[in-house]
């Protein structure tokens, strides 16, 4: 034993277990360091330690570094870099650890006293629709937030809003982590870039900025963000698929797959890469729906999320990119009635002896839901430039189905291609590790999620309502369940809810506070977020099913 030639291994006991992030951080730090003498990226990362002492030490260090910078004899503006300030701002607002939050706020105050212009977050909370205090009240689950902070280094608005449903959140974070960070066929910068491309389709500047930052952190080439003409052909060739997947997934055919998988060696996609990209795109599309649907505010360090101007009492500077605050909270008259009526209908529907309907009748009901005209044309200002230059053919959007009978796109029968039987197997076959498992788990969690309550009532079986919502979204995407009576959708989903769901699923960028507040007026916000989650997952599954079916046909 003694003289055994002990091989010596070198490892970087890195600050974090995610090397990509580490290198990214230091890389960003380098770019900052020219103008910025502020606290190192390292000390910011140390704040994510699980050990309280360690955090305290990091906080001290951070404080000293900031103070040292402030002490320097330099013009005030140049003393603390913008990035540092924004970091501090973000920490002071969103860190689930109280010590960190307070200290960051302290430091900002100190800086301000020393004459540094400090930024100010524009948004009052993570969401423009949901009051911040609601979120705190209903999201008592600090553990899951803490976990998110410790592993991601930040708690973004998506996480905060989803934290109302902790069981879903943990599942969501795991899936996202697996898609973006863990081993997979695509290089990491590409994954973020694909997410950027996808989010840009829905003009979701929130996700675009978030993934752009992620893209740069893992060493992506900055010029790519300048527009699609700067990226490799291979990535660019995804555009068509991205477009279809975002707006009209039913048009995806095996030819589209073939075009990507078969061309010359340079830009050829392998099936594994393609599936990875498809899952990423579908994920980003549906997440865009969620972001719009919950009216998420830009992060404090996003464009439009902060300002260096002091608040003026009269004229609040409002960024055009954040969802407008329209007070849709209207009178709450006779509201209690609505909920009761809905509950009664649910019970009726559940007990109702299946009356024999002709096939025509069933088809009519399906088509009626599918083609019901729901006005969704609130035109928003042009999307920011960051987003627009990443979109090709921005005119291509979800298309209302033609009136019944006229060239309606073919329906997909859920029984012929389902996630459980077919989609899962394909994803699992082509993607390594657990992406398939995680998606499967996520679908299951969301379809079983319930708190047995509705608005002010407890102990309610909400299954029929959730089912109706899920099937309605699939119906909008042309997926039909033979064993579902679409009359139920009409009974259970009020028109304002349909407006919301359809807007969110099909034209998410047009969601407004008015639409959000108009439906389910007596329900809690967490229940509305729950509805949001259902829409998002149903949409994800629908898009995946169409693409996976095309891939299956291609493989045949």
């Amino acid at each position: 034993m003694a003289s055994e030639p002990a091989a010596v291994f070198i490892c970087e006991a890195s600050r974090e277990n995610k090397p990509g992030q580490v290198s990214g951080r230091s890389c960003r730090h380098q770019s900052e360091s020219e103008s910025d003498l502020g606290p190192t990226a390292k000390s910011l990362a140390r704040l994510c330690s699980r050990d309280a002492e360690e955090r305290a030490a990091a906080l001290d260090e951070l404080g000293q570094a900031v103070l040292a910078c402030l002490g320097l004899d330099r013009p005030a503006v140049a003393r603390l870099g913008k990035q540092t300030l924004l970091h501090l701002l973000r920490l002071s607002r969103s860190c689930p650890l109280q010590d960190v939050r307070e200290r960051a706020a302290d430091l900002l105050r100190t800086a301000q006293e020393r004459g540094v212009e400090i930024p100010r977050a524009l948004a009052l909370g993570p969401s423009a629709f949901i009051p911040a205090k609601e979120m705190l009240k209903e999201g008592p689950d600090q553990d899951v937030l803490l976990e998110a902070f410790l592993s991601l280094g930040r708690v973004d608005h998506i996480t905060m809003v989803m934290a109302m449903h902790p069981s879903y959140l943990s599942c969501f974070l795991r899936t996202q982590h697996a898609l973006l960070e863990l081993d997979g066929p695509l290089p990491r910068p590409w994954r973020h870039y694909i997410a950027v491309m996808a989010a840009a389709r829905h003009q979701c500047s929130y996700l675009v900025q978030q993934h752009s930052a992620g893209f740069l952190e893992v060493g992506g080439e900055e010029s790519w963000l300048g527009g699609l003409e700067f990226v490799p052909t291979k990535l660019r060739s995804l555009q068509t698929l991205n477009k279809l997947l975002a707006h009209r997934p039913w048009l995806i055919t095996q030819q589209h797959i073939q075009e990507l998988v078969c061309p010359g060696a340079e830009s050829r996609w392998s099936l594994a890469e393609l599936i990875h990209a498809v899952v990423l795109m579908a994920h980003a599309h549906s997440l865009s729906s969620f972001v719009w649907g919950c009216g998420l505010n830009p992060e404090p360090d996003h464009i439009g999320g902060y300002t260096f101007y002091p608040p003026s009492p009269s004229n609040l500077p409002r960024s055009p990119h954040s969802p407008a605050h329209e007070d849709g909270r209207q009178e709450l008259a006779d509201g209690g009635m609505e909920v009761e009526v809905l509950m009664k209908r649910m019970v009726e529907l559940q007990q109702q002896q299946e009356e024999e309907c002709s096939q025509e009748e069933m088809l009519t009901r399906f088509e009626r839901e599918r083609s019901e005209s729901i006005p969704t044309a609130v035109v928003r200002g042009a999307p920011p430039d960051v987003v627009l230059r990443l979109v090709e053919d921005p005119e291509f959007i979800y298309e209302d189905f033609a009136p019944r009978g006229e060239q309606a796109p073919p329906t997909m029968r859920a029984q012929d291609y389902s996630w459980e039987d077919h989609g899962f197997s394909l994803v699992n076959r082509l993607l390594p590790d657990q992406v398939g498992q995680l998606l499967d788990e996520k679908f299951q969690v969301v379809s079983n999620l319930t708190y047995h309550r509705m608005a002010m009532h407890e102990g309610v079986d909400t299954h029929t309502l959730r089912k109706a919502l899920w099937n309605y979204i699939h119906c909008l995407y042309g997926i039909r369940y033979d064993d579902y009576d679409y009359g139920g959708v009409n009974v259970l989903l009020e028109r304002s809810l349909k407006v919301f769901v359809k807007t969110m699923a099909c034209h998410p960028e047009q969601t407004t506070a008015r639409i959000y507040h108009a439906f389910w007026r007596h329900f809690r916000h967490s229940e509305k977020v729950h509805a949001n989650l259902i829409v998002m997952e149903a949409r994800l599954q629908a898009a995946l099913l169409y693409t996976l079916r095309a891939i299956t046909h291609y493989m045949r």
Binding site: V8, A13, N17, D51, D183, P187, D440, D483
Partner: protein, 789 residues
């Protein structure tokens, strides 16, 4: 158990005759079922519901049950079953949740008999009781199983699966009252038909949905289940706990499983996705299908044995809208196609070879190896019924070890270590590498490097070292060298070889056969060896080959050069030696010349670009400065392919890296990627991690460079509490201790941490380096003799 009166037809199994045949359906089928006397088959699907009679030569459509102007969704069938007692009775499960029975005896066109709409969602399965005429069971997506008495209008009992979707229900062949149900969450439940309140037994059979189950027809209490996890499992239900007794791993999720009649160990499966074949497995040999039916062009959705006592006819329906009758005698037997020989190289030239015992023993010409034949084959026989059993299986595994002295991969390791691939000017890199090759007695490689430098360097730089010098040196070197190599080769080939062969054969040797294909990972390396049928002598064939390349290449290179420097010598040299390698050749007779042939071919290839000659003659003046480097690209490209083809992928990759942009455009990306992958694979086998990483880093293929971005997580355990560390590298969440303390300075290490694999103590890289310079003991005082390499 004699309650079970199986209907045994008087007809023996040979009473049917027929052939493999098929007919087109109008629409994809979802399920099929046969009637008791095996003369008719019903096909059901979303848009089809027909009965066909099975005639000798063809299927004949007998009845279309899908009637009406616009058939309702009740006709959209997920499953169908023909009653095994009552030949006019059929049941279907509809996608809209209806359970429908059909009475063929009805005089009207519409044969629909009963309609049960009790299920809320798609019914996945219907199953008649094997002996009771009126008992029908259904399993649905809504999580309920219902038992119907066909004399009543509604179900007699409902069994709840706790809102888990039911995928399959099957009455037991053994117990009158028992049925099995399989669920979407991976569970299988056993129920007593008389007790709807609670299942008798439940166990988790698969991860993910269990799509199908089937009781063994021979009263054995065996249940086969198939799941999305691509497994078929056979459970023994007679014991207290369901015990998994066999497991077959397939390549895709298992949609249906059916025991083969009259064959205790056989079952047929088909898949739900991707894979269109039907497999018949012998569960005792789960690694290779016993028989395969490959006729379908889309997934097979229904399989059924034509008659419950006839194992030779299998019917199947598919999404490709065809109905097939497969004859067992026409099935393909993968085991026949599987390569019965397996061959694999150890890193240092050891060779493992598994082959059919018969093949080896019948090889009379084989020389006994010095040291005696020490193979100990163990035979694995089965009853010799050629069509119904796996073909006679017995194989022997031999391991041939090479003698350490002739450990021929030394050069590879050394070369890999010593080559410089970047960091210096091009010319210096070439010179350095040429020197390395020369020192390792690889003159041809050395020359190639020199040539490359000459071709691609600026003419100005070139004049300094004096090409003459190099060339003349090379002119002599290979000569001596090749002689010695040859001698060595022939000498050892005949006697001085230390050859041991171990024979060893366990039952699992058999697995080697199908696995054969991926054994030869580095195709480049193995190409020649496969040609030589795995005899150990091939090694020397390879050695000759080296001589061969040597000259073929040298010829190429030197002609260009020596046109004007050493005119005749070069050609003489070549011819002189070209003749010689035939000397050891006859040792191996015909086998050995396969590498030769390839060598010659390659040589011809290298010589073909005649333009080079012409151009050289044009550029008579020494090193015409006008000659663009790109002019040489085709030659170099051929040279690289040649090396790669000869198995020296190292050379190909090294040159590729050193030349960089000068040549990259000339070679298509896939080839490059292939070379890189082969070389990296080799390097990693030799544990040359640093070199392989350097190669990955220097490569320009995106597919390669991303290799070292994958699997970058390093999991470590806390040195105090031995639990995994979750987040930060240096502090443990659980025991709140700093885990990675430097053994020298006792401070926490953040950054590069180095530790001894023997005693797991370590610390700052510099500290450890300094410490171990002066002391050989571990700085932690544990007494371990650490070594810093």
């Amino acid at each position: 158990m004699e309650k079970m009166s199986r209907v045994t037809t008087a007809l023996g199994s040979s009473a049917f005759s027929g052939r493999t045949m098929f007919c087109h359906l109008d629409a994809p089928a979802n399920a099929i079922s046969v009637c008791r006397d095996a003369t008719q088959v019903v096909v059901a699907g979303r848009n089809i519901f027909k009965i066909y009679t099975l005639e000798e030569e063809q299927f004949v459509e007998k009845l279309n049950l899908r009637v009406g102007r616009k058939p309702s969704l009740n006709f959209s069938c997920a499953d169908v079953m023909w009653h095994q007692m009552e030949e006019n009775l059929l049941a279907t499960a509809a996608t809209n949740g209806a359970v429908v029975t059909w009475n063929l005896g009805k005089p009207s066109r519409n044969k629909q008999d009963q309609l049960f709409t009790e299920h809320k969602r798609t019914v996945n399965k219907v199953c008649f009781h094997p002996t009771e005429v009126y008992m029908l069971l259904s399993g649905s997506q809504d999580g309920f199983m219902k038992c119907f008495d066909l004399r009543k209008k509604e179900s007699v009992s409902t069994f709840s699966g706790q809102s888990e979707s039911v995928r399959d229900v099957q009455f037991s062949m053994k117990d009158y009252f028992t049925f099995a149900a399989s669920f979407e969450n991976g569970n299988v439940q056993l129920w007593d038909i008389r007790r709807p309140d609670r299942y008798e037994r439940m166990f988790t059979a698969h991860t993910g949905p269990v799509f199908c189950c089937d009781w063994h027809p021979d009263d054995r209490g065996w249940l086969a289940t198939g799941g999305r996890d691509k497994m078929v499992k056979v459970w023994d239900m007679t014991t207290n706990r369901a015990k998994e007794i066999h497991c077959v791993q397939t390549i895709a999720s298992v949609a249906r499983v059916k025991w083969r009649p009259e064959r205790k160990w056989h079952l047929a499966t088909c898949s739900m996705m991707v894979d269109h074949n039907i497999y018949v497995w012998d569960i005792r040999r789960p690694f290779i299908p016993f028989a395969t039916f490959e006729e379908h062009k889309d997934v097979t959705t229904g399989i059924v044995w034509r008659h419950q006592h006839d194992p030779y006819f299998l019917l199947s329906g598919s999404k490709d809208s065809t109905l097939y009758q497969h004859m067992f005698k026409d099935a393909s037997r993968p085991v026949d196609k599987a390569n019965p020989e397996g061959l694999c190289f150890g890193l240092f030239g050891d060779l493992a070879f598994a082959a059919k015992e018969s093949l080896i023993s019948s090889d009379a010409n084989r020389k006994p190896y010095p040291g005696g034949d020490r193979r100990y084959p163990i035979f694995f026989f089965k009853k010799p019924d050629p069509t119904e059993q796996f073909a006679h299986v017995s194989s022997a595994l031999s391991v041939f070890e090479t003698d350490l002295d002739s450990n021929r991969m030394d050069w590879f390791v050394k070369t890999a270590r010593l080559y410089l691939l970047s960091g210096k000017p091009f010319a210096e890199l070439c010179d350095h590498n040429a020197k390395v090759a020369r020192e390792l007695n690889r003159p041809q490689v050395s020359t190639t490097w020199t040539m490359l430098r000459i071709m691609f360097s600026d003419p100005a730089n070139l004049t300094t070292p004096g090409p003459n010098h190099n060339i003349s040196k090379l002119g002599t070197l290979p000569l001596m060298n090749s002689f010695s190599m040859k001698e060595m080769g022939s000498g050892m080939g005949s006697e001085s070889r230390l050859e041991r062969s171990k024979g060893e054969s366990r039952q699992d040797n058999i697995h080697l056969e199908p696995g054969n294909s991926h054994i030869s990972n580095n195709n480049d390396e193995n190409e020649e060896t496969e040609g030589s049928e795995g005899q150990a002598e091939y090694m020397f064939g390879d050695a000759e080959l080296d001589d061969d390349d040597l000259y073929s290449m040298e010829h190429d290179n030197q002609t260009e050069e020596q046109e004007y420097i050493l005119p005749q010598e070069a050609f003489q040299l070549r011819h002189e030696i070209m003749d010689n390698p035939s000397a050891p050749e006859h040792l191996q007779q015909d086998k050995a010349d396969s590498p030769h042939v390839s060598g010659n071919e390659a040589e011809v290839m290298c010589l073909t670009p005649i333009e080079s000659f012409s151009l050289i003659s044009i550029s008579q003046p020494l090193f015409s400065p006008h000659l663009p480097a790109s002019f040489f690209c085709p030659v170099v490209r051929e040279m690289l392919s040649y090396y790669a083809e000869q198995g020296d992928v190292q050379m190909a990759v090294s040159v590729l890296i050193v030349l960089g942009d000068r040549i990259r455009k000339e070679i298509d990306d896939l080839t490059q990627e292939h070379w890189y992958m082969s070389y990296i694979d080799l390097l990693q086998r030799f544990e040359l991690w640093n070199v392989s990483n350097e190669v990955i880093k220097l490569s320009t293929c995106s597919a390669i460079t991303c290799l070292n971005q994958a699997s970058t997580t390093l999991h470590i355990n806390c040195s105090n509490c031995k639990r995994p560390m979750s987040n930060k590298g240096w502090i443990c969440d659980r025991c709140h201790q700093c885990a990675s303390v430097c053994a020298v300075c006792h401070h926490v290490v953040k950054g590069l941490f180095v530790w001894c694999q023997g005693c797991s103590h370590g610390g700052h890289l510099e500290h450890m380096m300094n410490w171990l310079k002066s002391s050989s003991h571990c700085p932690a005082g544990c007494g371990h003799l650490c070594e810093y390499t």
